[in-house]
């Protein structure tokens, strides 16, 4: 027979271990989503309850579905974050217009698959850069080489050397903005220490 008490103790220890792994920033993010979902930002008494309930639900979710922590983490720089968002939306608008023109003009549109080596090492920066370049029209991520931090991007309409280089540089600029907004100090150092655009061009 299994000793019920010992089993319970083991369960409690496991629970405590999992509780220790709950990442408060992530839980706060999920609470934010919860509040948005239930209109918790109006000034009324229920909002407080929604806040508490949302946090509890987030903690329970993280207990049931534990995820590896985000290493090495991230830090917000609000000014750069705003600049990054403005940049991304600006690029989205311009590129949407360009893709619209390419769509509506007759004739085949030729494109290229380009390798873009990133300068930072962190996975989070890789993911953010990939997402941002994916929502900007004209570039689709075909393949990601995670150990080497290389994005393989399909560039619509890049049919000569100039277009290819321009597309590559656009993604580097995007990476720079994102790292400045979200990266840790090491990421920013890696960005500064990394080869400049010109060096990369010689390698590529």
């Amino acid at each position: 027979m299994i000793d019920l008490k010992a089993k319970k103790r083991m369960g409690l220890a496991a629970l405590r271990r999992r509780l220790g792994k709950v990442q408060v920033p992530v839980a706060l993010g999920m609470t934010l989503v919860w509040l948005l979902l239930f209109d918790g930002f109006r000034l009324r008494f229920e909002s407080l309850g929604l806040l508490v309930l949302g946090f509890l639900v987030s903690v329970v979710i993280m207990l049931v579905f534990p995820l590896p922590p985000i290493t090495p983490g991230f830090r917000f720089r609000p000014v750069y974050l705003v600049r990054m968002l403005v940049y991304v939306f600006g690029r989205m608008a311009v590129a949407s217009f360009r893709v619209t023109v390419q769509t509506l003009s007759p004739g085949p549109v030729r494109s290229s698959v380009v390798a873009v080596p990133l300068r930072t090492e962190a996975d989070l920066m890789l993911v953010c850069t990939a997402i941002a370049s994916s929502i900007i029209p004209g570039s689709v991520i075909v393949e990601v080489s995670q150990p080497n931090h290389i994005l393989y991007v399909h560039l619509l309409g890049a049919d000569d050397e100039k277009g290819i280089e321009a597309g590559r540089e656009d993604i580097w600029k995007l990476e720079e903005r994102i790292v400045m907004a979200l990266g840790t100090r090491e990421d920013v150092d890696a960005l500064r220490a990394g080869p400049t655009v010109d060096d990369r061009r010689e390698d590529a």
């Binding site: 109006r42 989205m92 949407s96 494109s111 390798a115 929502i135 689709v140 290819i164």
Partner: protein, 135 residues
């Protein structure tokens, strides 16, 4: 709010809605017009994201002053947020599968650095065998 402010907001909302709808239309045209999947991804995933965001902004401007209980800004922000976060994932998977299964029109691709890399890797592996899924 004065009538003038409401009129200006109305016009902004109209412009956003129209621009968003037009971008979505372009996305539909692109789906038919482009011959290969990779090019289609560009129009299917992209102008449509900006189009949806513009439509959401338009709705946000027009509906919130009316105090409806159906929509609130939080819902609209969530719709936009999840669209932005999920579209790249789906797009990447579709593009990757298309590339790996050879559904690429070689005559439409000018330069292909991924193919060069995969070929180099295959040579390094001693030839034969399928290319590794993760380079």
């Amino acid at each position: 709010m004065s009538d003038q402010v409401v009129a200006v907001l109305d016009w902004i909302a109209i412009l956003c809605l129209l621009a968003g709808a037009l971008l979505s239309l372009v996305a539909g045209v692109g789906l038919i017009r482009f011959p290969d999947l990779l090019s289609r991804m560009h129009t299917a995933a992209k102008p449509q994201v900006l189009g949806l965001l513009l439509v959401l902004v338009g709705i946000g401007i027009r509906l919130i002053p009316e105090e409806t209980n159906v929509f609130n800004i939080g819902t609209l922000i969530l719709v936009g947020l999840f669209q932005v976060v999920t579209v790249p994932v789906a797009g990447h998977i579709a593009a990757r599968v298309a590339y790996r299964t050879g559904r690429v029109h070689a005559d439409l691709i000018v330069r292909d650095e991924l193919a060069e890399r995969l070929a180099a890797k295959r040579r390094a592996d001693g030839g034969g065998g399928p290319p590794e899924t993760r380079a």
